[in-house]
Symmetry: C2
Subunit: 195 residues, 2 copies
């Protein structure tokens, strides 16, 4: 087993600075998915080149933002009753962050092109997310809360599709209640109650 | 009641030419969502400007292609048993047209921006599609085939979300069987069988 070494000196300072930029970018993009790099640079007191020094490119920064959001979402969903509840909670949170939803929708669509720099990231993300949710649903099946007549992986793919598809509908019509609809889907996946 | 007049003379010729370009564009985009305008122009024996004369802009041509696809899909789904079956059939057909799926995914994502020229088209499309599917599901409820414990409009929104979200997953991983997953979702919406 290897113990991760704590970063020290200038390297540690660089890591901290990167985190600070990431937090700021997350905040800025939450409001406007298409915020210009300059706005983030201004907020952290750097030039655009200074910001890019930490991320390499605008695309890399955007990906780091989405990765960070996934990490926060996972942490928030940890104490949910099941995958459906965890996704509903995430989606409810997203409804306060239209900019990040827009960023996610446009970047994921562009990344379907195999030559896009984020293609690998999204392919991995969907594989991992589906597997995690499928494990949670399989546990629900064993506990008798999730219906046993459909494959857990298929239900997982549908849950992920529902949350992605609803983002599109919500951006086009903000009166769509994404979180309530994810909860509806979750009920469709529930085991029938014993009479 | 007004009878639509049959177009005559040069106007009719223009309509025919437009239809021909549209058919060709549909064919070309079916294979490659990002096909250059020149490829369509070459196939119909026109210059790019000649093609644009009939559509105004590249965006308008893309929208006309998607509109035409919707019309063909609706016709194909007319004799389906219910909305779920109709969507599954459309999705199965789409699996032979990755280019059109890619075009739809990227254009719908871009159109979430209210200033995008296709914003209105997509907002209308989702409203109409959801209403049509909800009517079909409500009929299924009355016939006892669709579960009655959830709102038909909510199930309709979920069915649309499922088919959109699966397109993203399928483009990232072509082994995802979109049509089979729509069928799975359709079973989740079925009324419980009498024992």
């Amino acid at each position: 087993m290897t113990t991760p070494r704590k970063p020290r000196g200038p390297y540690r300072k660089g890591v901290r600075r990167r985190e600070q930029i990431l937090d700021t970018a997350l905040e800025v993009f939450a409001g406007r998915g298409d915020a210009p790099l300059q706005e983030i640079a201004d907020r952290v007191g750097l030039s655009q080149a200074g910001v890019l020094h930490y991320f390499g490119s605008r695309e890399e920064l955007l990906l780091a933002v989405l990765r960070r959001r996934d990490t926060l979402d996972r942490a928030a969903g940890e104490h949910a009753g099941g995958p459906g509840e965890a996704v509903a909670r995430t989606v409810r949170h997203n409804m306060d962050q239209p900019g990040l939803v827009r960023l996610f929708v446009s970047l994921s669509a562009a990344a379907t092109d195999p030559s896009h720099p984020a293609h690998e990231f999204f392919a991995d993300r969907y594989r991992d997310l589906t597997a995690t949710i499928a494990r949670g649903l399989a546990a629900g099946r064993r506990a008798g809360t999730v219906r046993a007549d459909e494959d857990a992986e298929h239900l997982a793919r549908l849950l992920v599709a529902v949350s992605d598809g609803l983002q599109l509908q919500w951006l086009l019509d903000p009166s769509v209640d994404m979180a309530a609809l994810v909860e509806t889907f979750d009920r469709l996946c529930a085991a029938p109650r014993e009479e």
